[in-house]
């Protein structure tokens, strides 16, 4: 039994924006796998909810004319990991999606909810960050498109304006084309767990050199981060074991892990280096390269 005072269930995006505009204090609920747990724990008592579950247009995954892959914010993780377009063009996102929760959770949890919840452990966030994804936000007044890096404002906080909804995630062609990728979710369990560390790597290989490398990390800092120094180091370099090891070492630099009862700072930093190295090596392999020698 939940302490909910009102529930709105619009069927169109326009209607949702109108309701949210008129009632900016409403709590938006997507799949509910985070919101309802918070309510169960006693927060959000007496909340009014704006549910997006009936808005079919927000579930679509499609390829836009310019090669941008557009993923509706209400697409479930099950839908994402099974989707043909996602599997063909961004298999690393499929890999991240299926690492989340268990089958029942994935059936209801949405990618938009995962991002807007602001959790640093969100499995989709570090991957989308590595893919240079953009977020399309709309309210009654209009829309804006921002990069992932501008979305996170702090632990559990995202930059959403009044009455604003995350509508879709846009992955531009240059974000994914010709890229090999690997997402490693490091958690204590193989399912039904949150990441102790999430490492997402995508790279493009030409003549066994890094044409491009992008690394996103989850749970390595208060918000999901990118490892720009490691990425810059890699660019143009020949792929060798030493090079990959150096990339992994550099990946630790932007991190700001903290010690908690779940894991120590020292252990988390160690994991970033070990897992970044493994993820880069696998991404290279998937991009057609080779780092063994």
């Amino acid at each position: 039994m939940f302490d909910i005072c009102e529930l709105h269930e619009p069927e169109t995006l326009q209607e949702a924006k109108r309701i949210f505009h008129d009632n900016p204090d409403l709590k938006v609920i997507a799949g509910g796998t985070d919101v309802l747990i918070r309510m169960q724990h006693g927060s959000l008592a007496g909340a009014g909810l704006l549910s997006l579950r009936n808005i079919r247009e927000l579930e679509e995954i499609r390829m836009l004319g310019d090669g941008t892959l557009s993923i509706g914010a209400m697409a479930s993780f099950t839908k994402i990991f099974q989707d043909d377009l996602v599997q063909k063009h961004v298999p690393v996102l499929s890999e991240a999606a299926v690492s989340m929760g268990g089958p029942q959770v994935r059936n209801v949890a949405t990618i938009g909810g995962n991002l807007c919840n602001g959790a640093v452990s969100a499995d989709s966030a570090s991957t989308l960050f590595a893919l240079d994804a953009l977020l399309k936000l709309e309210n009654l007044e209009g829309e804006r498109i921002i990069p992932m890096g501008d979305f996170y404002a702090g632990p559990g906080k995202v930059n959403l304006g009044p009455g604003e909804l995350l509508v879709s995630i846009l992955i531009p062609r240059e974000g994914y084309e010709g890229m090999g990728g690997r997402y490693i979710k490091y958690a204590m369990r193989k399912a039904m767990d949150i990441a102790t560390l999430g490492v997402a790597v995508v790279c493009k290989v030409r003549d066994n050199r890094f044409a491009e490398l992008r690394i996103g990390l989850g749970v390595a800092a208060p918000v999901p981060i990118r490892c720009f120094e490691a990425e810059a180091y890699a660019k143009g370099r020949e792929i060798t074991l030493e090079c990959v090891q150096e990339i992994a070492r550099l990946a630790v630099k932007p991190s700001r892990p903290r010690t908690s009862w779940r894991a120590s700072k020292d252990y988390r930093e160690h994991l970033i280096e070990v897992l970044a190295q493994r993820a880069v090596a696998e991404a290279v392999k998937r991009a057609g390269g080779c780092c063994a020698h």
């Binding site: 039994m1 302490d3 949150i194 991190s255």
Partner: protein, 771 residues
């Protein structure tokens, strides 16, 4: 022996009911006008309630009653699910009140609300005003025993529940005379049962004025007694019903929610009240497995002969005694009939701390002591440069061994065969060779561990079991037992024992699966792996009586004396000729409707079982250790058991699967964590408490060495708790084999493994400075 039903994998009687969702559990029953209860819990680990004002909560519309400690009888009671002892010196510690004005752990129940719905109850809890005088608290057994430590219970000023121990032989003399003496410290963490079904009950006052409690319990007859004791009522004024139950594992061998639920109903004028804990509450205010610290000191000859052992145990029992010292004592009893020590000194201390209450959990102290002992033996073998299996084989007891303290006799001892079979199944020697000189980031290792266990509690406690059989008109029988089906499959096993004895198929045995203390035969319930062994004897006895009565009725038809007849496939046959003479149905009809001699065939009997049988087994395991992350994965596992005759192989295999997964969780992932400064639970939910999922569980292989134990029905011994004892030390020993690193505490959590690898130089400090 040639059996028709015993030894076959009869389908469990409740299989269809459970998989189709038709089996009704406590929460599936509804009474008209049912209310709900909620509990206000202390936010402090140790505090006195100085003021409590419920007036605002009472004024909230929808609130029917608010209960505070003052509203309830001030009768301290013991909660442990043991048979009552007529000897006051053998009773459990009476240290609990239904609600307390002295909180002894974070989550201790201070007040309760009865309301029309959960939301109202929840709101009312926030309206109860409580002022606390916060007291200093203590979380570890060592700290609790220190001079000047905060005292939890006034009548135990040193916080020690008991330090009673046992010994035989002269262990000091063995240490003096020994070639070598080895010492080791081992520790297990606090874990929990994690049964799927929550702790739940509902209660109401019936039209005859008696209190009816419907509860998810393993021990309905004991619940009846303790509810009556806690409320100060005559025992007959309470009736307890136990429907289907979604797991207990010992947590429900304790009286947890029932007295409070009954009190809630009384406070609401006898209206039905349901109190069902949420998972967070189950973690903090039911029972846990005792975290234990064990110090082992062992005298050994240069040839590896174990001479004497001194075991010191610190058992952290939390804020209330519950099963208290019985668990440490059980551990001390179970490990003895395995290795042939000439002298044993067992010194346990059970200590109160300001943590959730520890109680019974599958294995009852035995997983802890075998983690220590079997780890210790591998450590000794390494130091002696001896094969760890050979060390064990060299020291095994033999059939006929009598424990000098309990006087229990070992009548069957399949461990040597279990070891041989396990080595073969896991390909021990081949794998040992293949694992030599590993250098990569992933290394494999092999480990094994043995265990011993008992069947029931004799001679420590009363082992009484009741069974009642009524033969129906069609020759089928209805069986009632006081022992409880809690998922382990006992109803099916009892049906098989009955069917085998009566010469009828299993589907002609109708087992009443619900226990109702008004009509169910007396039995103390499901615990101590006692059901097949202890209750099986009562069931067999009842079935034999029914068989004899049926043959006597048949005599009237056939003229043959009962001893010349047998019942086979529902027919009465002349035994020596195998000639069918009439059907069992004919006999049953005579028993009901013969105008002169009608007397239905029934038996209502009980067995006071004053014998025990030791069960044994071995775990063989292969692990793979990620040397860089510290993660340990089990790649192959075999549990090989000697549980005597296996009555139902499929059910036996199921027990092994469940028990092994529990032990692997404790070995690698599970631990209840508390803030060291406040005593608040950190992970009392299934996200943060890392119960393994099915993806984390390797294929679990079960194998059996079937001995015949003369003490048990059809040669059977216990199995229920056995599989959860040896996997954890086997995993620990396999990690030692893979890495050369000896861990002394479980779980082998990746963070801990990482730190240890750093400490011993297997992992270098990170080279790059973090800026």
């Amino acid at each position: 022996m040639d059996h028709k039903v015993v030894g076959k994998s009869a389908q469990r009687l409740d299989a269809v009911a459970k998989v189709t969702g038709r089996a009704k559990y406590t929460d599936d029953f509804f009474e008209r006008g049912m209310l709900v209860g909620k509990v206000l819990r202390s936010p402090h680990a140790h505090a006195l309630v100085t003021r409590i004002d419920a007036s605002k909560a009472k004024a909230l519309p929808g609130v029917v009653a608010v209960l505070t400690p003052q509203d309830l009888p001030q009768i301290k009671f013991a909660t442990a699910g043991h048979p009552w002892s007529l000897d006051p010196g053998h009773r459990d510690v009476e240290d609990r009140l239904i609600l307390t004005d002295k909180a002894r752990f974070v989550g201790d129940a201070i007040a309760a609300v009865v309301a029309e719905d959960l939301l109202t109850a929840d709101k009312a809890l926030h309206l109860i005003e409580v002022e606390y005088e916060v007291l200093p608290h203590v979380l570890t057994a060592e700290d609790a025993m220190k001079e000047g430590a905060p005292v939890l219970h006034e009548n135990r000023p040193g916080n020690i529940v008991s330090s009673f121990g046992v010994q035989f032989g002269d262990v000091e003399a063995e240490f003096q005379a020994a070639d070598q003496v080895f010492e080791g410290d081992y520790e297990t963490s606090i874990v929990q049962h994690c049964h799927i079904e929550s702790m739940s009950a509902f209660a109401f006052v019936d039209t005859d004025g008696r209190i009816v409690v419907n509860s998810s319990t393993q021990i309905p007859h004991i619940v009846r007694r303790i509810v009556a004791q806690a409320l100060g009522l005559p025992w007959g004024r309470v009736k307890v019903i136990k429907p289907f139950i979604g797991g207990g594992f010992g947590n429900k061998q304790d009286v947890v929610v029932e007295p409070l639920t009954a009190a809630m109903s009384l406070a609401a004028g006898g209206r039905p009240v349901r109190y069902c804990m949420n998972r967070e509450e189950v973690f903090i205010d039911t029972r846990t497995r005792h975290g234990m610290k064990l110090h082992l000191k062992t005298a050994v000859s240069n040839e590896g002969v174990l001479k004497g052992i001194h075991v010191q145990v610190l058992s952290n029992t939390g804020a209330y005694a519950s099963h208290g010292h019985s668990i440490a004592m059980s551990a001390g009893g179970k490990f003895r009939p395995l290795y042939d020590f000439r002298a044993i000194k067992y010194e346990p201390k059970t200590v109160y701390t300001n943590l959730p209450v520890a109680g019974a959990m599958r294995g009852y102290g035995t997983p802890q002591i075998f983690f220590a002992l079997e780890s210790h033996l591998d450590d000794i073998a390494r130091k002696l440069e001896m094969d760890p299996i050979e060390l064990r084989q060299k020291n095994l007891i033999k059939v006929g061994h009598m424990d000098p303290l309990t006087k229990n006799v070992v009548r069957s001892f399949g461990i040597p065969e279990c070891i041989a079979k396990g080595m073969e199944l896991i390909h021990w020697d081949e794998k040992k060779k293949a694992h030599q000189q590993q250098t990569g980031p992933r290394r494999r290792g092999l480990g094994m561990a043995c265990f011993a266990y008992a069947s029931g509690t004799h001679p420590v406690a009363l082992e009484l079991a009741g069974a009642r059989i009524v033969m129906n008109q069609d020759g089928s029988v209805t069986l009632q037992v006081g022992a409880t089906e809690i998922g382990q499959g006992s109803d099916t096993v009892f049906a098989q024992i009955t069917a085998e004895t009566l010469g009828i198929p299993v589907d002609m045995v109708h087992v009443v699966t619900t226990q109702d203390t008004d009509i169910t035969p007396f039995d103390s319930g499901a615990y101590a792996s006692r059901q097949t062994f202890v209750t099986g004897i009562a069931v067999r006895k009842a079935a034999l009586e029914v068989r004899q009565k049926a043959l006597e009725v048949a005599t009237r038809r056939t003229g043959l004396p009962p001893a010349e007849m047998d019942i086979r496939d529902c027919m009465i046959v002349e035994a020596s000729l195998g000639r069918a003479v009439c059907s069992l149905g004919d006999v049953a009809m005579d028993s009901y409707y013969d105008r002169i001699l009608a007397a239905p065939i029934t038996s209502d009997t009980s067995a006071n079982v004053r014998i025990n049988a030791m069960s044994y087994g071995v775990t063989f395991v292969e692990v793979e250790v990620d040397m860089e992350t510290g993660k340990v994965e089990v790649t192959e596992l075999w549990n090989v058991h000697d549980s005597g005759t296996i009555i139902n192989p499929k059910l036996a295999e199921g027990q092994v699967h469940g028990g092994v997964s529990m032990s692997l969780g404790a070995a690698l992932l599970e631990q209840m964590l508390f803030d060291p400064h406040t005593g608040k639970p950190l992970n009392n939910n299934f996200l943060d408490y890392k119960l393994p999922t099915i993806l984390d569980t390797p294929k679990i292989n079960a194998a059996f060495v079937e001995t015949f134990d003369a003490a048990g029905t059809f040669g059977s011994k216990s199995l229920g708790e056995c599989p959860t004892i040896s996997p954890a030390p086997a995993v620990r020993n396999a990690v030692l084999d893979a890495t050369g690193v000896a861990f002394h505490k479980i779980p082998l959590y990746p963070q801990v493994v990482f730190e240890k690898f750093r400490e011993v130089g297997l992992l270098a400090e990170r080279s790059v400075e973090h800026v």
